[in-house]
Amino acid sequence: MKALRFGLSVLLVAAVLALYRAVHVNNTTVALSLLLAILGISAWWGLAEATVASVAAVLGFNYWFLPPVGTLTIQDPQNWVALLVFLATAVTASQLSERGRRRAAEAEARRTEIERLYALVQSMMFSGNARKTIREFVHTVVRVFGCRAAALYYRSTEEFFRSGPESNVVTDHELLAEAEIEDVSVDSGREVALGPVRLGLRPLGSMALIGRLPSEQMVRAIVNLIALTIERARALEEASHAEAARQGEVLKSALLDSLAHDIKTPLTSIKAAVTSLLSSSDHSERELLTIINEETDRLNRLAAEVIEMARIEAGKLHLEKRPVAVAELISGALADLAPAIQNRPVKVRVPDGLPAAEADHDFAMQVVKHFVENAVKYTPEGSPIDVSAELKSGKIVIGVTDRGPGIEENERVRIFDKFYRGRRHRFDTKGTGMGLAIAKGIVEAHGERIWVESEPGQGSAFYFSLAASPGGRHT
């Protein structure tokens, strides 16, 4: 290849000389034409070819064109100038073009590396699993960059990922040490490039490439890429855990709903059947059927309370707050409890002009019901119950007061606990012991306060607060 280029260079010079031997022109034209040929040769091929061409051109020019024509003697010192000009042109032009060619080659190499980096990015598996992603990466980087081997140390699981046994040139210990270092190092003698994998200042591990090495800059780009990739995989991993947890909650809620349905369906049949029988029964059966009916109701309440408590504990109360008229809330609760309070003098006190409460209507009504039910349960038959509402420092406070035995101080905190029953009532079978715990859960879900005031021997008063609705001032 090289010999061919030398031959062609000499031939080109010979062609110029031959042309001007045939066509008569002055010597300056011949010299300039030769100069052009040398310039061309040095630009296309390089210094060596141009030098050979220069010498050939000087010899030919001297022999055929400079007087005395037909000899190789140089009488005139201007011939030396011609030779020098030819050589200087050859050297300068070839150096310039050589530099250009080198730049182009460098640019080409860089382009190839960037293409490879791009190919690396594209072939990376963006999965939501950091370890799987790293394992994939180690093989992909070897394939794309044509290295012999690669190794990666992942700090968070303290694992070493290697593309194959060839990567043992770099020891685990070296990788461990590299994870603590700031910058990459490329050892072209050992054909080993090492770099820490970091995200900002946070070390994630380190990486080694063995064999044909990309440039130092490229090694830096590769470690940055793997750092980002690991971080992304980790973020995806965490997001999918969060999603799984959320789905668990949804499932729990769906389960509670279906449980409610499954328990209440047979109760519906029993209740419909027994009430149907009751309406047409004679006296002797009536007592027994009444028991079935009452116990069905109790079972239904029990199921409802268990499910409600579970919902509160799962944080699954969906409140739909809107302005609620407090008087209507209380009358609604009392209407629902009508059979239970028929023998009780119940006094309701709601001042005119009390603002509406900002609350979930159904749940707020339930709190009132639990308070009243509680009063009915733990106070003597026939003793009065007062229900009141008032505006106190911007909050609506609803209270239920009884004239029962009262609650001793050490029990007042625990009375809102699930399944807690007052000492005196421990063996009382009425209720589930969840009413006040449910009331507390509802009030707390509203972000409000629930409390009890009591004077042993005098009675107890249960209170809860609700936000006053910013809109209406109706009752």
Partner: protein
């Protein structure tokens, strides 16, 4: 003589059994459907006077079935559901149900609701007709014409409108309205009125958000305004 034909729609066979036994005992004729799809098929064949519809069924749920029934007929529908929240009641009434009963229920309660749903006030009571520039109501033929279009009202919507027009100009309380339209056992269901009045307004008012016929009396009830006052 049968007191009426009732279609019982519930996926639970025991509930259907007990309903059939009880309702037949009270002189109703009972037909059963296991699913919403089944109910939609049987309704035009059997022409029941009332549908008892379970809310929570596999496949086509109660609400969807109710909407589909409503698209084709004015037949009274009572939704039966284990859920007790106001939201569920409103959703059922919005779907076109006339009433909502929470499971488990006593049979007396259900029978009272059935009687209320089947009952019609006699056409003689109340005004014979109402006319204004964009609303015409003929109470005898049960026809309503609003903004030059015929409007179809469900029986309960019609009764509600009739009662309000009969007391035009005066506020009618929630309780009074509920007892007049649904029956004496009612009175604590203001959400029923909210839903039904909304539906009525959508059908007869030019702008349901700014009603000119059926006005809300805050916390009290509703008032019908004839065009002369408006």
């Amino acid at each position: 003589m049968s007191a009426g034909k009732i279609l019982v729609v519930d996926d639970d066979p025991q509930i259907r059994r007990v309903m059939k036994a009880t309702l037949v005992g009270h002189n109703y004729e009972v037909i059963e459907a296991r699913t919403g799809e089944d109910a939609l098929e049987k309704t035009p064949q059997e022409m029941p006077n009332l549908v008892l519809l379970d809310m929570n069924m596999p496949g086509m749920g109660g609400l969807e079935t109710c909407r589909a029934l409503r698209a084709g007929s004015d037949i009274p529908v009572i939704i039966l559901s284990v859920r007790n929240s106001e939201k569920d009641k409103v959703a059922a009434l919005d779907a076109g149900a006339d009433d909502y009963v929470t499971k488990p229920f006593s049979i007396e309660e259900l029978l009272a609701r059935i009687r209320a749903a089947l009952r019609r006030t006699s056409p003689e009571s109340g005004p014979p007709a109402f006319h204004s520039d964009d609303l015409e109501i003929d109470f005898q033929s049960r026809r309503v014409h609003a903004r030059s279009k015929d409007v179809r009202l469900t029986p309960k919507e019609f009764e509600l409108l009739r009662y309000l027009v009969a007391h035009a100009g005066k506020p009618v309380t929630h309780r009074e309205l509920l007892q007049a339209v649904w029956g004496p056992d009612y009175g604590d269901e203001p959400e029923y009125l909210r839903v039904f009045v909304n539906q009525l307004r959508k059908k007869i008012e030019a702008n349901p958000a700014k009603p000119k016929y059926i006005l809300t009396e805050p916390w009290l009830g509703y008032r019908f305004v004839g065009s002369t006052e408006g």
